[in-house]
């Protein structure tokens, strides 16, 4: 069966998802309320998930929700609530270098965009994407097996390190 194609629909979905990604992202970095910032991560992450779907990367999409939306955001929320940030009081959230930061961000973004548009990307239109969960699994267990095992060590040290740092001694 040929691939489902509907340029207009795809573009529409893309635009919607981009907006779902970017608008909350702006809220994340500008909101004066830290909890709102953190919660705005959710639509951003979900929007990114949507983009992954458009790119046919289902597994990554699932993981994106599971880890980013379901775990990392929760962790962030926990910390906010366990520290003063939870008070919801609008305190100054930005430092003195807003103009500087904005300039740097805009400048770098502009630069990257310039490069992105100037570069003739070597698009491979012939190969049909064949990835799904099992291709990822196979890759992890063969070509990328070292990465796979090192990942477990990274997880281990993060776990131990974070416990050591976060634990309160009696």
């Amino acid at each position: 069966m040929p691939e489902a194609r509907c340029p207009g629909g795809e573009l529409g979905a893309f635009i919607i998802l981009s907006l779902v990604t970017l608008i909350p992202a702006v809220v994340v970095v500008t909101s004066g309320n830290i909890v709102r910032s953190a919660l705005s991560l959710i639509p951003t992450f979900l929007g990114v998930t949507g983009l992954y779907i458009l790119l046919h990367a289902e597994f990554v999409a699932g993981i994106q929700i599971l880890i980013y939306a379901g775990a990392i955001t929760v962790l962030i929320l926990f910390v906010i609530m366990l520290t003063q940030g939870g008070s919801g009081v609008r305190i100054r959230q930005i430092n003195e270098q807003v103009p500087l930061g904005a300039m740097a961000a805009v400048w770098l973004g502009f630069l990257i965009l310039l490069v992105v548009f100037r570069t003739p990307w070597q698009i491979d239109a012939t190969s049909v994407p064949q990835y799904n969960v099992s291709s990822v699994g196979t890759a992890f267990l063969t070509d990328y097996m070292l990465i796979f095992e090192v990942t477990s060590l990274v997880l281990l040290v993060s776990l131990i390190g974070a416990i050591i740092i976060a634990r309160r001694e009696e």
Partner: protein, 359 residues
């Protein structure tokens, strides 16, 4: 596919959404609540609801109508946007669970919204989204008990998400796929996964069930809501429809968990001796009973007469001793107003609090 096909798909999707949502709202939530009350009443040698409609069947509908009319009290200093968004998020997450659940079979076609490639992973991901809603709700209430309840619920749900995933993984491993339909079909070739590789199948099923129960905050995993201590946990400040949405989400998820257990361990719709829909239904009901009722939140309930109509808040204000609760390290409420609180909590849970026009 042409644009027309796309529109068609979208239309179908919208239709399905409405159907599933309604199904959830009517069947799972309302029926579930009714059954829960009725059966736990029976277990505890009470009558349960009986006035509205035959055998009190319409009680839940009446409750819904009542809830619709209830004033939405937004606590002072609460973050209104988040306060409203949280229940919606929980409800939608509960709804989204149902996308990958096959309801049964119609001829050659499996009755399922969409058979996603990463079905069970998707299911787990949606389940994890609920946590955010609960935390947001607990926080936005600007109530320390709600916040604490939220944190506790979230902690618990997080803790049991891993065992839940382990149960799912075992099935995925045996079936070699993540698709829910694929899992059911794999069981047609083999046996129910419950009996696969004895005793691992049992073990996995047990783990899954236990985790699922914890995931939806049911007894004996209702510690976070800790009605006696935390005044209903994270939704202490929620009233009216918002409260109902939380309940809807929770019930939707609970039923989805039960359905998932059926699909993963009991062969879904694939029992050869009975019609598919019947088997699926029976198995499903059995699991629901296990999840919701045997371990019912009302097991330990003491029967307390409902308080007089009127604002519970005010009545308590009058009777409460002066001064706040002592600041004990674990945020327990001192014992002196415990009984009273239990009463309030009880009464406020199905009925919600607030003025009740016309009783």
């Amino acid at each position: 596919m042409t644009a027309r096909d796309w529109l068609e798909e979208i239309g179908k999707a919208i239709l399905l959404t409405v159907v599933v949502f309604t199904y959830l709202a009517v069947v799972t939530a309302m029926l579930g609540v009714y059954l829960e009350r009725k059966i736990s009443g029976w277990i505890q040698a009470r009558l349960g609801p009986k006035h509205v409609g035959p055998q009190g069947l319409l009680q839940t509908i009446a409750d819904t109508v009542k809830l619709l009319q209830k004033e939405h009290i937004t606590p002072r200093q609460a973050d209104v946007l988040i306060f409203n968004a949280a229940p919606v998020l929980v409800a939608v997450a509960g709804l989204l669970d149902w996308v990958v659940i096959p309801f049964g079979r119609l001829g050659d076609r499996v009755l399922i919204v969409r058979d996603l490639n990463i079905g069970v992973l998707y299911f787990a991901a949606m389940a994890s989204l609920t946590v955010v809603g609960i935390l947001a709700g607990g926080w936005s209430s600007n109530n320390k008990y709600a916040l604490l309840g939220g944190l506790r619920s979230a902690s618990q749900m997080l803790s049991y998400e891993i065992p839940l995933a382990m149960g799912i993984l075992w099935v995925a491993m045996v079936a070699g796929t993540l698709s829910t339909v694929g899992i059911v079909q794999a069981q047609s070739i083999n046996r129910w996964f419950l009996f696969q590789a004895f005793p691992f199948g049992f073990l996995a099923a047990l783990i899954f069930l236990a985790a699922a129960t914890a995931e939806v905050n049911r007894v004996p995993f209702d510690l976070p809501e800790a009605e006696s201590e935390l005044v209903a946990g994270y939704f202490a400040e929620y009233t009216g429809m918002r409260f109902a949405l939380f309940q809807l989400g929770e019930y939707a998820e609970a039923f989805a968990m039960a359905a998932m257990a059926t699909i993963m361990f009991l062969g879904g719709w694939l029992e050869p001796s009975l019609p598919a829909w019947l088997w699926l239904g029976l198995a499903f009901v059995a699991v629901v009973v296990v999840v919701l009722l045997i371990a019912s939140p009302h097991m330990d309930a003491v029967d307390v007469p409902p308080p007089a109509p009127g604002s519970t808040t005010e009545s308590v204000l009058e009777s409460a001793p002066a001064g706040g609760p002592a600041q004990s390290p674990d945020y327990r409420i001192p014992h002196y107003d415990c009984t009273l609180m239990v009463a309030i909590a009880r009464s406020s849970k199905p009925d919600a609090r607030g003025p009740m026009p016309g009783g």
